[in-house]
Symmetry: D2
């Protein structure tokens, strides 16, 4: 017999499933079927593929094992929309996702609807145990991750079109001056970090564990565009002594001279975003930096990047000082998909831009990979990547928390990745 | 004052322009805007791009210079739809043509219509001289070349979709047995080759010139699938002594074991075409071969590829014997886009499959490149390519002739490229 | 006036300099000038280049700044023998070090002798302050690092010669059976790690700092060839679920099926080493593994790699239990350049094979990069690499210690890199 | 019984074998074993490898089949010194020839001596038939080809050393002014081309065949450095309209701005050669050009490259006018390995620099590949290459003739490759 709490949880998850999938579909507004085909690099998938993949995840890990007599929506989708789950079978090559004109977008939207309907049936007709509910909850968060990727991938796709397409039309905020950067001091001590409690978290945020932290200082907000421009003007991109060796090589090989999506026209710095081409606003947090650029900037500024432990400790302290609230409003729910000016946001640790830490993405002490194909979710990527913390203007607010660990290779620039300075 | 013949020619060309552009649009039937975005390799352009490019050609070389006060349909199309004309200005990178979701297909179709209208106005309102008419005629033939590329590129794009989309639905012909291959003997002698007369021909078919030809034999038809299968079964792909050195390397690097679009399932050879996956038919001409494979097959068969001079001489003789008619019916007009069985076609030199010759693509004696950007049409590609003759099932019949020189790199396989055997 | 201790230190360092440089020259025994030219990959330098580079280091950082009126041995050596010090000026490309037939080996040996003579003059004629002595001491340890690279690079170079040249002729030890692997338990607690005391250490081993460690178990010795063969026989190289995602890709791309330098002949596993081709001995520690292979093996064995903190803690405990002695005898001084069987070595943490840890190579809390070009020594490589601990059969015994941090990219296999298992 | 002429031919060939192999050894003068190890690119082999390969050729094709009880000098040399003869068995990878420090140069010289001795024994003890003598004669010419490659490869190797080593020390000729370029007119007509008579020629020069040639003009001498400098100054390297499309791409990709081995210092053009760095002499023939550069220069000069048929016809006419002598003195026998000023050489077709023709390297009508491994000598390279004619300052005079066809890819620049202008 199912427990009372499973029934409550089913009701709760039915609402979450409905809401998150409605949001995904709403994101397609303003995009044509042609836009949803684009693939500008192997790492950035077509929007249509993201749409199919989030349904694939529910179908593969929830509907097929838990719904009696489930018949696949389409026999080939198992292969076409598998991302990297070797345990599930063969996959369509990642770099060729943009070559799938068939199924058409309309069919993938029908897939989305069909999977939603079946999921809600499963939840309403009840009789699902916690292992199934866990997977549905994972699927909700998984879909939210892909919502952010839809934003960042689409931006990268459109960047390759000389017409610089406009996706969202938002009014500009009034521009105000940013207060100078302040550092806050944190004493050394032993702390517990990692996700605590029963609420949902990814496996890589667990287990909670003890850490000794040496004294450090952390900036009250991320670095701004204005501050980053001073680095550029001080020849930051031409001075090898500021860079990690691999970063210096990447800079030369890729021809980096500014953040991704920036260029200069007649002395003015412009950038590309959801609203097309615009002047670079000084009071916004700088983003679309690689780890190498973030690291070089920090060295130039006489500082360093924080470790993820320092970052989480400071974010937790800030949240405690505000009764748990350390979110600003700079999240995907704004539907702007571009960071807000920091004047009103100063202090918040969540939202705006992801912040590179100097921590490599590695397992916490006692981490164990889950059994089965879902075990491929996080653990197998724990090498060659650096941790980012805090979420961005493209992250759903309900998706992020202080213990959340995002991770990308040190040369990646197409996420909303910025930095916050630390000092020993 | 314009000559009488210019007026007649205007009327004639107005009909040709209208017909060829109608045909191009008709080819899009059954294709979605998503299908028209596909780009499976840098060499194979999206169908939407082909559509824009053929209008770009008329706009750039005819409307802009010859129509008074002509205003470009879209200011950025000059760059987006330029293929390789350095003299016309900068170009969107070839490998990124598949990243142009904007302009949408509907806008490119409007472009097609607008350019057609303006062209017909120009021709009807008269007052165009021969230099302009020459360019319009060139544009017609240029568009026919792209009609063939639409077929071959689309086939390549669809090949990358595991669903193996079907484009055309044609009934299969009855299968009959092919008569054994015969060789015809040609005596040595001096002949005139290259395009003769005033009718349209590309610059690379001219000037007509004298050639001495040693005695040779030429097969009465191209090599069939059945004959090529014997080569495969005789380990043709594993015997280095049959291959050119560069071909042997390409074979290993690319993993060739059969023509492009062929694969084996449970002992049966299948191939992919406009009607999806089908068994390989023995009596069709083999195609989608690289020059290297054609050359290796010929060596295995104790023969060789003909030179383009030998081929043209034989095709001319055949045409003379039939009062000028050496076309079968295996052309794009059939709308099958797959070679017909050769039983009924034996003897014809035009249509079916392109035939690799052993001649490198080089200028004829006395060849001169035209002035201006149009001079980039053919001449600048005269290196690293081999000549193919005869046209294919994807070539419009009104486009091909005995003196026509097609050319591709020796490793190319996505055209309908087969071979005919010769012997000294 | 120089302190008394500086004088004592000068005497000490004069002996060290003389000894280490004698050793470097002695390593060339049995090698021809042709052998010393070899460069099998960009990462593995020619022996002649190593020889020039260690002298270049002393010349550039000691003789030029500290010896009055010093005149460079050769004006172009500053460029030719610079490794990666951007601050020192331009460098000959790393991948082309094997193209320097001039200067001949004899001239580079004269360079070695000249620099040694000048260094000893500088030290004997006294009047060198601690900053200079620090650099000389650094140069001694730098040269020892290159001694190890001479061994590992030469092995890689010779591996590309189908004649499989023999470099050293050592008698085989008697083969004995290895005792089963045991794990030792370590309680959680706060410890101090990193280099302590005034003796020489590299900057990356400092500063000493506090760390909290959760309870763990660590194996009493590295994994053996025999144990690793069981992984191979259990299809360890074919099971994706055992591998990190990047590791699985590297395995496929590089075709790994066993450790580097291993191959199979008639059912027997052979390996290549300083004594040429030999059967794989079961009781030796396995080595020439990438991080990816070490990690996959550990997962297969139901264990994991230790962190570098766990490793250092355990090594320190072991040393305490033996009055500070935790060295076996398996070091470069043996002149065997191949790991010994572990029977007699069990328990030791230093020597034999380097042990991959699951720690990324990152700065310790409070780490600062030194000013000037010497600051490029370690700090700029702190990304994309994993830490190895313990030294190997190619490491000079006087060079290694518990706090020593070696680092390589996770795909590197040409060092003597093995592993020791840990468990939470 | 052997014919009388076979005996005479044996005597003749014994002298030739002795002379050519003495010359090869003499070329090593001034080179160290380290120099002979260099390999700067896969296409340019180490000198030691060339030395081994020419002996391998005699051993494999003459001694093993024709000498009774022949025992290989070294069992592994069959693999190590095989160039591209698939029929002979596996080969050491071309790009790794520079990694063979063993066998040492001294052993390869002993191999050279041993093979010479055996060859002479075979010839003197007689009883060798014509098929064997043919192979010995082929081996002599094969070795001469490698003598030229020793010169061009060594130049390329040394170019990668910033010390720019000097190989030969020759006095400079007095500099004189070059007479303006003249064109000679040739009428159209049918001619016989290709090698005639019984004397040695490579298979690709045969069979002799009839060709119809249209009227043309040909320059009386190759293009000079001075003339080529005018092309550079006229922005020849920046004007796309002068270049073949593939050439324009190669130019950009490789960064070409002048011939290989040229660079500018303080306004002066310098070049690298056998005597080290020297100013560019205006009256020398320009060389180290790719086909693309030669073609672009010709277009810039309002001319074109000749076909190989035009070239051979003109060279034959010139020779007839001088009783067969159309050699200057600018050959390898001068031991200068750098082209002479053209003042005294004007008119000659042989020697100095190779001349690119606009002819692709293809078989003559009736060409047949020889049976067996020797058949791989020429025929399998008949694609993707252009023909060069005339020999160079690095070609032995006894090796060259009017019908000689050399061939390289259109992007190759490390041969002494220049051009002579033609006009229709």
């Amino acid at each position: 017999m199912l427990s009372h709490s499973s029934v409550d949880r089913s009701v709760y998850l039915a609402e979450r499933v409905a809401a998150v999938r409605r949001t995904t579909l709403a994101m397609l507004e303003g995009l044509s079927a042609e836009d949803c085909m684009l693939q500008s690099m192997p790492e950035a998938s077509p929007i249509k593929w993201h749409l199919g993949h989030v349904s694939w995840f529910f179908e593969t890990f929830v509907l097929e094992p838990f719904q009696v007599d489930y018949r696949a929506f389409h026999p080939r989708f198992r292969e076409i929309f598998n991302s990297y789950y070797v345990g599930v079978g063969s996959r369509h090559p990642r770099a060729e996702r943009g070559l799938l004109s068939r199924p058409p977008l309309s069919e993938v939207m029908a897939y989305q609807e069909s999977v939603s309907t079946r999921l809600l049936e499963l939840l309403q007709n009840g009789r699902v145990d916690d292992s199934c509910l866990d997977l549905i909850e994972l699927g909700v968060h998984h879909e939210q991750q892909h919502q952010e990727l839809i934003v960042t991938d689409l931006k990268h796709h459109f960047w390759h079109n000389p017409l610089l397409p406009v996706w969202r039309d938002c009014p500009d905020e009034a521009s105000t001056t940013l207060a100078p950067l302040k550092f806050l001091f944190y004493e050394s001590g032993q702390v517990e970090l990692g996700h605590a409690g029963a609420a949902f978290a990814f496996d890589n945020e667990r287990p909670r564990h003890r850490v000794w932290i040496e004294p450090f200082e952390l900036a009250c907000r991320p670095v701004s565009n204005g501050e980053y421009l001073a680095f550029i003007k001080d020849a930051g991109y031409e001075r090898a002594e500021l860079w990690l060796s691999d970063g210096w090589d990447a800079r030369g090989r890729e021809g980096w001279q500014a953040p991704l999506y920036w260029w200069q026209e007649e002395g003015q710095w412009l950038c590309f975003g959801a609203t097309g081409a615009k002047p670079v606003r000084l009071s916004e947090p700088v983003c679309h930096l690689s780890y190498y650029e973030a690291d070089a900037y920090a060295r130039w500024a006489g500082a360093r990047l924080p470790t993820e432990q320092e970052w989480e400790l400071a974010a937790n302290r800030y949240a405690q000082s505000r009764d748990g609230d350390n979110c600003g409003q700079d999240f995907a729910e704004q539907n702007r998909f571009h960071p807000m000016a920091m004047n009103a946001q100063a202090g918040f640790f969540l939202g705006g831009v992801w912040e590179w830490t100097q921590s490599a993405y590695l397992p916490y002490p006692g981490f164990r990979i889950a059994d089965g194909a879902v075990g491929e979710y996080n653990g197998k990527f724990m090498v060659n990547q650096m941790v980012l913390r805090g979420g961005s203007c493209a992250t759903p607010q309900s998706h992020i928390r202080n213990s959340y660990r995002n991770f990308f290779g040190p040369g990646s620039r197409w996420q909303f990745s910025g930095l916050r300075l630390a000092r020993s």
